[in-house]
């Protein structure tokens, strides 16, 4: 089946000479929720902006639903809805007017019933006659989502949709996104929050300094992210790991004073109890221990390092 988005060899160098994207290859499958994770300035917004027609690509091609975004932009853009990262709204318009305007802009005939449904789904129905300037930030964000959904897109880009949205609303928004996915819409979202990607995404792509450094199923990635390390500070240095402990995933520090055990928090059994029992049996004493989990930041850094 044709992918929803097909990016090949895409590069972007801004006029300033800064290269924001480097040879990006990426496929987003039809009907999935794809989360694009990456630190500030990684190029997430740049990538989305190119696909949606806001920024000119320097090199490479993008197909949206099989249509080239440059040569066949009408067909490509009709399929796409975009919720930008920045909260940009026409301050003096009403919610209803601005959402209806968006639909018209995409060439669709007026359909009040659809707009009503979108506004209700996003809990904006009561606010439909309000001017945008009178709405809170979270409401404005939802108006932007409503605008993006007004023309019934098949592919939806959400650039940090939950930035500045409170926890409860965030859950509601996730629910809306899930419903959309069920109705067959492909969703690409960017986020800094690993929990958000974890909660929502089918697949996750990590972008750093303009390069896609990994694209993986969520389950796989969570497996990697879910790894923890237990470090034991030994009473007496060891020369090597005794054979009786060979069954455990252990590493010995160079000076022999620390044993590090790597385990998976997502598994039913972490194996810690067994390890401690075996250590006891081998007569290895330790004076202290601590555990640590790799943060998303560290994983980014490690991934980038691995690439270099």
């Amino acid at each position: 089946m044709q992918p929803a988005i097909h990016v090949s060899n895409l590069s972007k160098t801004y006029d300033s000479g800064f290269q924001a994207l480097k040879n990006i290859d990426l496929e987003v499958r039809r009907g999935e929720i794809f989360a694009l994770l990456g630190p500030n300035g990684a190029g997430k917004t740049t990538l989305i902006s190119i696909i949606c027609g806001l920024v000119n690509p320097s090199e490479g091609t993008v197909l949206a639903d099989g249509h080239d975004i440059v040569n066949d932009y009408r067909a490509a853009r009709e399929k796409i809805g975009l919720v930008p990262q920045e909260l940009t709204t026409d301050a003096f318009e009403t919610v209803w007017a601005t959402v209806s305007f968006s639909r018209g802009l995409f060439g669709k005939p007026a359909n009040p019933a659809h707009i009503e449904k979108v506004l209700k789904d996003l809990a904006l129905w009561d606010k439909r006659h309000n001017r945008l300037i009178t709405l809170s930030g979270g409401m404005k964000r939802r108006v932007l989502i409503a605008k993006a959904l007004s023309h019934e897109p098949q592919i939806l880009f959400l650039d940090e949709p939950t930035a500045g949205v409170d926890v409860e609303l965030r859950r509601d928004m996730w629910e809306v996104v899930r419903l959309l996915r069920e109705s067959g819409v492909t969703i690409i979202l960017t986020t800094h929050y690993i929990e958000e990607a974890e909660e929502m995404a089918d697949r996750i792509g990590v972008i750093s300094r303009g390069e896609i450094i990994l694209v993986e199923d969520k389950a796989e990635l969570m497996h990697k992210l879910g790894r923890k390390q237990l470090t034991l500070h030994l009473q007496y240095p060891l020369e090597r790991i005794p054979a009786t402990l060979g069954a455990h995933d252990l590493a010995l520090a160079e000076d022999g004073t620390e044993l590090t055990y790597t385990y998976d928090t997502q598994e039913e059994r972490t194996g810690i109890t067994g390890l401690l029992g075996d250590l006891n049996a081998a007569g290895i004493d330790f004076k202290d221990l601590h555990t640590r989990q790799s943060s998303l930041e560290e994983i980014f850094v490690n991934l980038v390092r691995e690439r270099q």
Binding site: C52, L54, A76, R77, L82, T88, S102, G104, F106, G107
Partner: protein
């Protein structure tokens, strides 16, 4: 062609004008009336007729042109500058619209507003001075062509400007002086010979002259020259707009 989108932009812009009806219609009408009171009645009564036309009537076409130019430029420049400034332009760029459709929507709305305004001012003038229009169709043609051309110019300024100062600077520093020196309030041959030649480099002279011809059958320069000048100007603006969108100048990084 995405007609629906053009219509959306057009009606959106017209709705905006309706919301600001007071400032977009009432204020130009008041200021034009003031011109008539001051120039037409007070000073005009002491000025002899120009080519057989009372001074009050003589300045009507020039005044309408003055309003037409300034309003077209400010309407169109603001209409496109604002989405750029607020960021809502993202939606225009991401929609399945061709550039010329964006231009038709915005320039069409801006031109419509200034044409309506021009007609209102014309009607207002009727209260102060006896009006005659020798060539009504030509009058309309000049009105429409000028409104469209200068709305295009405004559109270009709105894209070029990177701040509110620049947005106001061009109309203030270029359009207004050119219009005042463009024969709105006098006939070119009332000037010293040197200035008559200099004046011929002012495009507004051709607009005012042609427009006045459509009223009274008198003109400073030939009507053909006037028409040609507008068309040249229109073509220039169209070319610039095409270039802007082709390169993404100041719209698309």
């Amino acid at each position: 062609m995405n007609l629906q989108a053009v219509r959306s932009i057009y009606t959106f812009e017209m709705a905006r004008a309706r919301r600001t009806l007071l400032q977009s219609v009432v204020s130009p009408v008041i200021s034009t009336s003031l011109y008539f009171v001051v120039f037409g009645a007070a000073i005009g009564s002491r000025i002899s007729h120009i080519e057989g036309i009372s001074y009050g009537a003589f300045i009507v076409p020039g005044l309408i042109m003055l309003m037409l130019l300034t309003q077209s430029v400010s309407n169109a420049s603001f209409a496109i500058f604002f989405p750029r400034f607020s960021g809502t332009i993202y939606e225009l760029l991401s929609a399945p619209i061709a550039y010329y459709e964006i231009v038709i929507g915005y320039v069409g709305a801006a031109a419509t507003k200034s044409i309506v305004l021009g007609l209102i001012i014309l009607a207002t003038a009727g209260f102060f001075v006896p009006l005659e229009i020798a060539h009504p169709l030509w009058m309309l043609a000049f009105l429409v062509l000028t409104a469209v051309t200068f709305s295009l110019l405004g559109f270009i300024i709105g894209i070029w400007a990177d701040g509110f100062e620049k947005l106001q600077l061009v109309p203030l520093l270029i359009i207004t002086p050119l219009t005042f020196l463009g024969g709105s309030f006098y006939s070119v041959d009332m000037l010293p010979p040197v200035w008559q030649t200099v004046t011929l480099f002012n495009p507004v002279v051709y607009l005012v002259s042609g427009f006045r011809w459509s009223f009274y059958g008198i003109s400073d320069v030939s009507v053909t020259a006037s028409l040609l000048m507008i068309l040249v100007f229109l073509t220039l603006c169209l070319g610039l707009v095409a270039w802007i969108f082709k390169t993404g100048y100041r719209i698309k990084p």
